[in-house]
């Protein structure tokens, strides 16, 4: 599906490719044993290697390589048995070696696919060009001193996976879905925590526009856009800006731009900020990275079930809609919660309760599902009461609210508040009779053909029973009595 943007000269297609920098989950850095924990005091997690001291040498961290292999397998990419680390040379105060060790011509993973779950239940495949391993740089702190910058090297040398997509996306929404899906896969694999606020996942957006059917236009790269919302904003802004520039008779400059989250706009970086000739060449301190094919195949065997496979299973086994299944599998914790709720129960009913009532409460209280006020077991208990007719769906919502408030289980609340559903025909009949007696004019209208009034009688009778009447029984009896 292609969404076009209308300009003055007709419709434009937006072409988007994303470069994601994902911080590898690893206790130690890519080439040193220094720690990687987030939020440590500045310069407390720095080895002499990370600080670029004379004579220090990098040694590859096997675990980081394993994480990259798992990620490559997780996006269905080709893990290359030989890859090469290169030096990307440039000067900056937070780059102690004067070069970043990265992979340039021979990355560890080539190709791959990320499948987007669209709102309408369809899917869209986005190609991944490559995934490579590289070192992160340190951090310059410009706000600590009036005239000097401070440097924090804690992040220097931390392992990143740069994941480059093909220019396959056509809308900001797709870009947003791509990041979310990739993030979901990384989190399932345990290779990146996906935390964009802490900078564990960062995104550069390549955007160009063209008239449909025309070759790619000139692209711009917007750097370090640090939330899904900002990525979508940056793309929207950049696309409209480019259309305006072209329609105004100018050309797009291939340039690097920065996103301004305050204004939701992008601006060109100063030319000095990116006028680099990186002088890439293979790092002579490191031998080519050779992977044992058995290691790769062993890792493939122990990969967890990933979101796409889980979604397929939910559609097949639980008979969920692809959309609902997609929502449930996005986070591993949600999927696990759901599976506990659904086990031995009506899977669709379980899905509805998780995605509407539970998500509603979590959103309202700003809680993660791991901290849900209602446990999966308790929610299961509530659904059991619905299924065995103890309470109606409507009462269940009331019970659920009470569960959120009190933390008690459903059965206890039903007992306490006397919410047990009335299926006793005698009691219901009595209530119907009373309602009919009070509304004889409406009974007459109904009997003369205005059958829509059934709803009115259902409501009134339900009200008379305090909502506890079994709706099935009530409906049946009411129809019989109204028919006369």
């Amino acid at each position: 599906m292609t969404a076009l943007i209308k300009g003055q000269t007709g419709e434009w297609e937006v072409v988007i490719g994303l470069e994601i920098h994902a911080q590898v989950i690893s206790k130690a850095k890519l080439f040193s044993a220094a720690a990687t924990a987030f939020g440590a005091e500045p310069n407390t997690q720095v080895s002499y290697v990370d600080a670029g001291f004379p004579g220090m040498l990098p040694v590859i961290n096997r675990f980081c390589v394993e994480q990259a292999i798992k990620t490559g397998l997780g996006i269905d990419g080709k893990v290359n048995e030989i890859s090469v680390f290169d030096r990307k040379n440039y000067f900056y105060a937070d780059l102690p070696q004067g070069y970043q060790i990265s992979q340039y011509q021979q990355p560890i993973v080539s190709g791959g696919t990320v499948i987007l779950d669209m709102k309408d239940g369809s899917t869209r495949k986005i190609g991944v060009t490559r995934l490579h391993l590289e070192q992160d740089a340190g951090k310059s702190l410009h706000d600590q001193h009036p005239s000097q910058s401070y440097i924090d090297l804690n992040r220097s040398g931390v392992a990143l996976m740069e994941i480059v997509s093909e220019p396959d996306m056509r809308t900001a929404e797709e870009a947003g879905l791509y990041i979310k899906k990739l993030r979901s896969i990384l989190r399932y694999l345990g290779t990146c925590d996906g935390n964009m606020e802490e900078g564990s996942l960062r995104c550069d957006c390549n955007v160009s526009v063209r008239k449909p059917g025309q070759p790619f236009g000139t692209r711009t790269e917007t750097k370090n856009v640090n939330s899904v919302r900002y990525v979508m904003q940056a793309i929207e802004y950049e696309a409209r800006r480019q259309i305006e520039v072209i329609e105004g008779g100018d050309e797009i400059k291939q340039e690097t731009r920065l996103f301004d989250p305050g204004k939701g706009t992008t601006r060109p970086m100063r030319s000095k900020e990116h006028a680099h000739d990186y002088r890439y060449f293979p790092d002579p301190d490191l031998l080519p990275l050779e992977l044992d094919p058995k290691w790769i195949s062993d890792l493939k065997k122990v990969l967890p079930e990933l979101p796409d496979a889980r979604k397929t299973r939910y559609v097949a086994d639980y008979k969920l809609s692809p959309y609902d299944a997609g929502v449930l599998v996005a986070e591993q914790e949600t999927a696990q919660f759901y599976e506990t709720v659904a086990k031995g129960r009506d899977a669709k009913l379980a899905s509805n309760w998780v995605t509407t009532e539970l998500f509603g409460v979590l959103n309202r209280t700003n809680k993660a599902i791991q901290d849900s006020p209602v446990s999966a077991k308790a929610l299961g208990g509530l659904i059991d009461l619905i299924s065995d007719g103890t309470i109606s769906g409507r009462i269940a919502k009331e019970v659920f609210e009470a569960m959120v408030e009190t933390g008690k289980d459903a059965a206890a609340i039903v007992e306490e508040k006397g919410l047990r559903q009335v299926s006793d025909t005698g009691a219901i009949e009595k209530a119907i009779d009373e309602v009919m007696a009070k509304n004889q004019d409406k009974v007459a209208e109904y009997r003369s053909g205005k059958e829509k009034l059934l709803g009115f009688f259902v409501g009134q009778t339900m009200k008379a029973t305090g909502g506890k009447a079994n709706p099935g029984v009530l409906n049946e009896l009411l129809k019989k009595k109204l028919a006369g």
Binding site: Y48, A51, G52, F53, P54, G55, M56, L57, P58, V59, I60, R87, N89, F91, Y92, A93, P96, Q97, G98, Y99, S149, I151, D277, R279, Y280, F281, D283, P284, D285, L286, L287
Partner: protein, 490 residues
């Protein structure tokens, strides 16, 4: 018993064990020689207090009949090796005041073996040079002079301080490094023995990097046997250096007296240079004759890509250096010359901190790696490098080792060749091939020229076959019976 400063390491070791001499006496004698030869400018830093304390400790160990293979032996350390708490400058102003908080693997191994550090030895800045003229700490003088002449000669480089100190008997042996000939050329210029082992034999961890794919540590000492003793202690796999070879270290000392009977020695025709001095050619022929007499068979071989070695080297080495030296930016250690902006600080620091030769090589290296030039220079140089390595692989199907001259001339005077960098680069013409191919090479004094200056012969071996290199080197040493001493050293 010889005077302490005229003993070889092997002799001193025996004397220490037999308690004919103490490490304190041995160390004091060398400290005294160090003082007396200060005029050579071989040392950047002297560490007499530490040496005396360590000698005392060594004597305690020796008294118990214990101790490592170098227990109590006083050595010098090239200033390229990081030594914990001891100034390490790499011969550069830019490392002003840098006292590493760590010890290089190679020097640490020597201390574990019981050796004693007398000080840090002068060198060409960042090991870039063949004369020791590029050192920020000033030129080193060769203890040798031309017969009847007064002009000071260079000791070669970049390990000029190491070679001069060994020749001047102020250290029994010294560590050195060799990127294009920096062990073998100064050894040849000073009548000492120096071996560059196979790339990967010694760890590069803690050695200030010049060109990572070429740099190798090795010893300079006065005999082949002493080099074998030292290299034994310096070698071995180091998990901290990804390019260090995970191979067992053979018994080098045992290989020294193995003899050369039955060995085939390659004589590469490409090492016969047009316009090379006759004394060099004569020495080479003499070497061939000596090995023949000792039972080896000379075999004419061809190493067809030899003529490209020097240009290839002067693309690859500066390329790696330009990147390796980027870390000297004034931010974290060493010299900082302030500026109004970060870029200005970089410019001021590096302008003041690096000497002319280092700047020249950074410029060359930056150029050959630049977009649009990479393929034509760096990539092509790497391809030719593989061809040079293949030449050796082919040759070693026929021969066990290769004999060449070590240098195209004897030591030259301080100030000569300084205005012509290319002429200076030619010093490495016989030695760079071993670096490009990663092979072990030794320089052994073969005799003196008409001016009474020492000349060296080079033996290049197969990868990780230092044993044959030592055996052939020893055969040459024996035949040459090189006993000449620099003036005033008798």
């Amino acid at each position: 018993m010889a005077a302490p400063t005229h003993m070889t390491i092997a002799e001193a070791r025996k004397a220490l064990k037999a308690k004919k001499i103490s490490s304190a006496e041995l160390t004091d004698a060398h400290l005294k020689a160090m003082e007396q030869t200060r005029g050579l400018n071989a040392f950047v830093t002297e560490t007499p207090e530490r040496a005396k304390a360590d000698a005392k400790r060594a004597d305690v160990v020796l008294a118990k009949g214990e101790g490592g293979p170098l227990e109590g032996i006083p050595l010098g350390i090239k200033d390229l090796f990081c030594t914990e708490g001891v100034l390490t400058t790499a011969g550069s102003h830019i490392l002003d005041g840098f006292k590493p908080p760590y010890e290089s693997t190679v020097s640490a191994k020597l201390w574990q073996a019981g050796a004693i550090m007398l000080g840090k030895l002068n060198m060409d800045e960042f090991a870039m040079g063949s004369s020791n003229m590029t050192s920020y700490h000033g030129a080193v003088k060769n203890p040798w002079r031309r017969k009847g002449a007064n002009s000071d000669l260079v000791p070669g480089g970049s390990s000029g301080g190491s070679a001069a100190a060994v020749a001047a008997r102020s250290v029994m042996g010294a560590t050195a490094t060799d990127t294009g000939g920096s062990i073998r050329q100064p050894a040849a210029f000073t009548g000492t023995v120096g071996i560059k082992p196979t790339y990967g034999r010694c760890s590069r961890w803690g050695i200030v990097a010049f060109a990572s794919s070429l740099d190798q540590a090795g010893p300079i000492a006065r005999t082949v046997e002493d080099c074998a003793i030292m290299l034994q202690a310096m070698s071995g796999h180091d998990p901290k250096d990804s390019t260090s070879a995970d191979l067992p270290v053979p018994n080098f000392e045992a290989a020294v007296e193995r003899g050369v009977k039955g060995l085939k020695i390659g004589i590469p025709k490409e090492y016969k240079l047009d316009g090379a001095p006759k004394e060099i050619q004569d020495l080479w022929e003499q070497g061939i004759a000596w090995l023949k007499e000792a039972g080896a068979t000379p075999v004419d071989i061809t190493l067809p890509h030899t003529k490209y070695a020097l240009p290839v080297y002067y693309v690859i080495a500066p390329a790696e250096a330009s990147s390796n030296l980027a870390r000297y930016d004034g931010v974290r250690f060493g010299l900082r010359v302030p500026g109004k902006t970060l870029d200005e600080m970089y410019e001021n620091t590096r302008a003041a901190g690096f000497g002319a030769e280092v700047k020249r090589r950074i410029l060359i290296g930056t150029y050959v790696l630049s977009a649009g030039y990479y393929d034509a220079y760096y990539l092509r140089a790497q391809r030719v490098r593989s061809l040079i390595a293949r030449d050796f692989t082919e040759a070693y199907k026929q021969v066990d080792a290769i004999l060449t001259p070590a240098t195209p001339s004897a030591a030259f005077a301080i100030g000569e060749k300084m205005d012509d960098p290319i002429a200076m680069y030619l010093n490495d013409v016989f030695t760079v091939t071993a670096n490009l191919a990663g092979l072990p090479g030794i320089s052994v004094p073969g005799g003196v020229n008409a001016d009474g200056l020492p000349l060296g012969l080079q033996v290049i071996g197969k990868a990780f076959d230092e044993e044959t290199v030592f055996a052939v080197g020893r055969a040459l040493e024996k035949a040459a019976n090189f006993t000449a001493l620099p003036e005033g050293m008798a």
